[in-house]
């Protein structure tokens, strides 16, 4: 199979675009696609301070490097979930990327804040690890943005992540979540930073190929608590459909974006209107979920919040 652009041996076939590309042309193609997504959906403005949510995986590390390569000065934030070797390796790879980019890395450690990792907290709170992890990440990353003056939080969510989440919400008719699966979520007041997903239209296979082709050293191992996650089931179903009918995932998500644009899906009225009594960030209740966790398990100083800053050496 030959590269559609230069005629050399192709390194990846992209049935959804009816093409095949060599490493060099695929890298350019991928970077251009992300740049176009950022421009088309006005994700990151000029001079906007951007923070990238980094896990050490292929998506977030690729995004972090790519944004800086596109001239967007982006720092990173990493959350140590206390998953022993997995967290240690993830953090090492994240720090290595921060050094190579010469960017600041912020970190928050669950074991430091709660003396427990995500697994123990999950058991005590009787909440699935993925659900608790999502809540903690959303809170910490948003608060880091606000407190350190970043107006945009960029995450590495890709096409497969978004399509599988949307499929899951549709299958269970969770209408209250349907409006928030877009390319960006607007900032609200002084307490919610804008969230953007520049890899929204890039499939997980494309992102992985980009990471491999550009030599990004990412954590290959899967999070041990994701075994049996419904997301993986939905991704599998969508990939079976994609193999039989290329562009299925793209059509699914572009159709979704069109409906959001036309106003067919609107924000849930139950979104929090009050602010947490302890931290002052948006909350459904008197105390937000994170502060309730801190109140119950916070160690030395209840409701203390400590984000470490690692500046490039």
């Amino acid at each position: 199979m030959k590269c559609r652009v230069c005629g050399k041996q192709a390194n990846i076939r992209l049935p959804q675009y009816n093409t095949a590309l060599c490493s060099e042309d695929f890298t350019l193609f991928f970077e251009k696609r992300v740049a176009t997504t950022i421009r088309k959906y006005r994700l990151i403005g000029e001079e906007e301070k951007t923070l990238v949510a980094v896990s050490g995986g292929k998506d977030s590390l690729s995004l972090w490097r790519l944004l800086n390569g596109l001239g967007i000065s982006a720092d990173g934030i990493y959350i140590d979930l206390g998953i022993h070797e997995y967290s240690r390796v993830s953090f090492e790879k994240t720090k290595a990327m921060a050094e190579s980019l010469r960017r600041t890395l912020y970190s928050f450690s669950l074991p430091d804040a709660f003396t427990k990792g995500i697994k123990d907290l999950s058991g005590i709170m009787r909440r699935p690890p993925c659900s608790l992890c999502g809540m903690i990440k959303r809170y910490v990353m948003n608060r880091a943005c606000i407190e350190h003056g970043y107006s945009v939080l960029a995450t590495g969510h890709n096409l497969d992540d978004e399509a599988s989440a949307l499929l899951g919400n549709l299958l269970h008719w969770k209408e209250e979540y349907l409006w928030k699966k877009g390319v960006s979520l607007d900032a609200e007041g002084a307490h919610l930073a804008r969230k953007v997903k520049p890899l929204f239209l890039c499939s997980e296979k494309e992102t992985a190929a980009y990471a491999v082709m550009t030599g990004i050293d990412y954590v290959y191992e899967e999070c041990p608590y994701s075994v049996g996650a419904k997301t993986l089931l939905y991704k599998g179903l969508l990939n079976r459909a994609e193999e039989e009918s290329p562009t299925t995932k793209l059509v699914f998500m572009k159709g979704y974006l069109k409906r959001v644009r036309q106003g067919g899906l609107t924000k849930d009225e139950r979104e929090p209107k009050s602010l947490c009594g302890a931290c002052g960030y948006p909350s459904y209740a008197e105390l937000c979920s994170f502060c309730r966790l801190m109140e119950r398990f916070g160690t030395t100083d209840t409701l203390s919040f400590s984000i470490h800053t690692h500046s490039p050496s």
Binding site: G57, D161, S164, E204, K205, V212, L232, K235, G236, N239
Partner: protein, 85 residues
């Protein structure tokens, strides 16, 4: 399903050595498997019952497309691309 690589002790077995002398060695999830004949990437993924959308294959450190023929000397690795939770 492809066969797992023989243990070092088993390589002294002449029969096994003759049979697998030309096998393609494939690394998948930290284990080395042997595929007994030259195969394309597409066929390899079928043999392992893996989705083409969810996996990449590299030969000698370079990604290859589904029609690529894998040779016995190639260092082949199957890369899972799906993560989630």
């Amino acid at each position: 399903m492809p066969r797992r690589a023989k243990s070092p002790a088993a390589t002294f077995d002449n029969v096994a050595r003759l049979c697998y002398e030309f096998a393609v060695k494939v690394e998948w999830e930290g284990k080395v498997h042997e595929v007994e004949k030259r195969v394309t990437v597409e066929r390899l993924l079928d043999m392992f019952r893996l989705s083409r959308e969810a996996h990449l294959v590299s030969a000698n450190g370079t990604l290859v497309t589904e029609d690529h023929m894998l040779e016995p000397d190639d260092r082949v690795r199957i890369i899972r691309v799906i993560s989630g939770g």
